[in-house]
């Protein structure tokens, strides 16, 4: 049974797709145009009651929230493809910790930045310079902590690539492509090196090739 991923064009969906590729799991995609309101159709809302992207269907089984989806497949196919949790049980909590950091510290200010710098006209909002500046400062502080962390660890959770690193790719991509904030990565030596390592993984290159970003 092939996993169906809804809305491959969207950033959070790419979090799921890159994971499926790392775990060598076959999948197919279903386009959902949120700008045309296709995510609010009754059929789609049955899969994802908040009308957000992505959702997945695996036979009769459906899931939403990309971080829940990636944890499920990383666990289900633990012995296939790339190990995404760390090789031993003792290391397991660290990828969880840094995945939460991504979700609650990295993602929110970056998401706001992306909305105001790239998607403002599509969403019909006026870019607010004060909001952009505030969120740049917030994100900068987070990246300073990453810089410190990555000066002594090859990856966020330790010396292994994990779901925590992978989870930064899809929205982090915009910092260097469209938001005009490349300096936030490049001015930080260890963050920059880490970004180059994770974004050059064949899985991520495949995602960009198959499902280019909308903008």
């Amino acid at each position: 049974m092939v996993v169906k991923v809804y809305g491959p064009e969207y950033a959070s969906s790419k979090r799921v797709i890159v994971t499926l590729i790392e775990k060598e799991i076959e999948f197919e995609v279903v386009d959902v145009d949120a700008f045309k309101g296709e995510n609010k159709s009754l059929d789609y809302l049955k899969l994802q009651p908040f009308g957000l992207l992505p959702a997945i269907q695996d036979g009769d089984y459906t899931l939403f929230e990309s971080r829940a989806i990636i944890r499920y497949y990383a666990e289900k196919y633990k012995s296939r493809g790339t190990e995404l949790f760390g090789k031993c049980y003792l290391l397991f909590p660290f990828h969880q910790q840094w995945l939460e950091v991504e979700a609650h510290n990295f993602n929110p200010p970056l998401n706001t930045l992306v909305i105001h710098t790239i998607f403002s006209s599509k969403l019909g909002i006026t870019p607010d310079q004060k909001v952009i500046q505030e969120n740049e400062v917030k994100l900068g502080k987070v990246l300073d902590i990453y810089e410190e962390r990555l000066s002594t660890n090859k990856y966020l959770a330790g010396d292994f690539f994990s779901l925590a690193d992978l989870s930064h790719l899809q929205l982090g991509h915009y910092l260097l492509n469209g938001a005009g904030k490349e300096y936030m990565i490049r001015d930080r030596k260890h963050v920059s090196a880490w970004w180059d390592v994770i974004s050059n993984r064949p899985s991520w290159k495949k995602v960009l090739q198959l499902f280019p970003y909308l903008n």
Binding site: P49, F50, Y61, L63, F64, E65, R67, A68, I69, R71, Y72, E75, K76, L90, F92, P93, F94, Q96, Q97, L99, E100, V101, A103, H104, N105, P108, V142, I145, E148, R149
Partner: protein, 213 residues
Amino acid sequence: MAIKVHGYPFSGATQRVLATLAEKELEYEFVNIDLRTGQQKTEAFLKLNPFRQVPVLEDGDLTLFESRAITQYLAHTYADKGTPLITSDPKKMAILSVWTEVEGQRFDPQASKLGYEIVIKPMLGQTTDEAIVAQLEGKLAEVLDVYEARLAQSKYLGGDSFTLADLHHLPVINYLMGSKIKSLFDERPHVSAWCADILGRPSWKKVVALMKH
């Protein structure tokens, strides 16, 4: 003692961890980090959590931050103690995981900002921004409509029994139930029943009692 929690009793994130420890019937030492006097900014605390946020858990050699990573660690490591808060069935665990993500990504951003405006700001002698409150109320109402539909077909958010998916909500729901937007919860019968159920758990009452001391 093997388990130490560095936290602030009035921090929702700290309460999330304390509720989990109570459910798992685990003993721990509590180290108070007074956020009002900036104790989270000391060099000593920075070594525990570079993000300067409470709580931090120490369990033997392990140091962990991010409350939802800590609760998952405790639920997993002490699976055989106290209340089961996760499940070993992968498909059921993924559904549980969906709803812990919903709490973290859909519920908490709106609800904790509302709590800040309505409960915290007045406590600090600041003025509530009613325009922001109106906006956030609208967004939270939409989220709670989804919860109402979910709880109409599932006793708890993650499935048939109380799990982390429900527990993670306790601190913020507790704050909001004492405020004017309690009505958002009361108006939705399944949400209302679920709130009463989870807030009535003995483990949660223990956490509330800690706040009172």
